[in-house]
């Protein structure tokens, strides 16, 4: 199961980078023990909530998604800042709407809902089967989500590997 | 320069605490406390650079994790036993 090896590599890197002692045998042993414990616990969780859908294929294509998401975050930050500093000229128009999600697998839906929440101005309130309930501060932000560019991009991550 | 940033973060923390005091619903308070925790992480990092002891970053990382778990636990509790003030508007 490749997910297990990915977890072990990631945890080992995390420990080495955080500790900074790469030669002391005692600390290295302790680190190996911690990694083993954490992996065992994660495997116990996975027995119940299996995580076998295209997780790694999505991870290997993140580099196309994050720069675009960063630009989106900067844009929506500016629009929310305008609402904060100039409430007279930029009034808020809050609304709630239920949208269909384009991504199909569970991990892609998680990524999509998290990206919605990470962007200021929109928050995903609840995720049901293939629908997501969204609160938006501005009508324009909701329109952007309805046009579905973000969903399209997340969808591209999970297909055609 | 670090001192100016420290001061700005302290001001933000003060305003967040004020919102936590007056916040009409319990969720306003939790939101303010969450923001306070994020700012604490930043403050520890900047203060470590101000006193030229960047080892403080470890504490900041741990604080980020503990803050997240703490907020989730409090929310779980509030969701199960909603206080009366959660329902009232303003």
């Amino acid at each position: 199961m490749p997910y297990r090896y990915l977890l072990i590599i990631g945890l080992t890197l995390f420990w080495l980078l955080l500790s900074g002692y790469w030669t002391n045998p005692l600390i290295l042993t302790l680190g190996a023990a911690s990694v083993a414990l954490a992996t065992w616990m994660a495997m116990r969780i996975e027995k119940k909530y299996a995580f076998n859908e295209k997780g790694i294929a999505i991870l290997s294509k993140q580099h196309t998604f994050w720069p675009w998401l960063f630009v989106e975050i900067v844009k929506s930050n500016i629009s929310v800042l305008k609402c904060i500093w100039m409430p007279k000229t930029h009034p808020i128009s809050p609304l709630i709407r239920q949208l269909k999600m384009q991504p199909q697998t569970r991990i892609a839906r998680t990524l999509y809902a998290n990206s919605i929440t990470l962007t200021p101005g929109t928050v995903s309130i609840e995720v049901r089967n293939d629908e997501v309930l969204i609160y938006a501060l501005l009508e324009d932000a909701m329109k952007d989500l309805e046009d579905g560019e973000m969903g399209e991009r997340v969808y591209k991550l999970e297909v055609n590997n | 320069m670090f001192a100016v940033t420290c001061l700005a973060i302290l001001v933000v923390m003060g305003i967040a605490l004020a919102r936590a005091f007056i916040g009409p619903t319990i969720y306003d308070r939790i939101l303010a406390v969450n923001m306070f925790g994020t700012k604490t992480v930043l403050f520890i990092a900047v203060y470590g650079f101000l006193t030229e002891r960047p080892e403080f970053m470890d504490i900041a990382l741990i604080y980020a994790l503990i803050n997240f778990v703490g907020v989730i636990v409090v929310l779980k509790f509030v969701e199960r036993y909603p206080p009366n003030s959660a329902h009232s508007d303003e």
């Binding site: 904060i84 808020i92 929109t122 | 100016v4 973060i9 994020t38 990382l61 929310l75």
Partner: protein, 112 residues
């Protein structure tokens, strides 16, 4: 060269402080809970990013800057989760947002 990096990091720190303070003002001046969440979201994303970028430019490339990058990653991963949990439990326990367009109207408009 040193001077340019110093100036860049000062600019990043100042911009981060400005974003933090405007987020705090937003959390104070917005009228209801669901709008305040958006103001807090500003400080959770770009304020964290710019202050950490300024510190990374100051420290150069070593273990400390790697830790700073890990801190940004952790905050950006856990921030939306905490916000989503907060808003979801607020919505489910019956805190109604004040909307400019009600949900039924918007559903009608979405269909037409």
């Amino acid at each position: 060269m040193n001077f340019i990096i110093d100036a860049l990091s000062w600019g990043c720190l100042l911009l981060g402080s400005f974003l933090g303070i405007s987020g705090a003002i937003g959390i104070f001046s917005f009228k209801e809970f669901y709008s305040r969440v958006q103001a807090a979201s500003v400080t959770d994303t770009l304020c964290v990013f710019f202050i950490m970028l300024g510190l990374i430019l100051q420290s150069g490339f070593n273990l400390v800057s790697v830790k700073l990058i890990i801190a940004v990653g952790l905050l950006w991963l856990t921030g939306p989760l905490a916000t989503h949990a907060l808003v979801r439990s607020a919505y489910l326990t019956g805190l109604k947002p004040k909307l400019s367009i009600t949900r039924k109207e918007s559903a009608k408009r979405g269909k037409s």
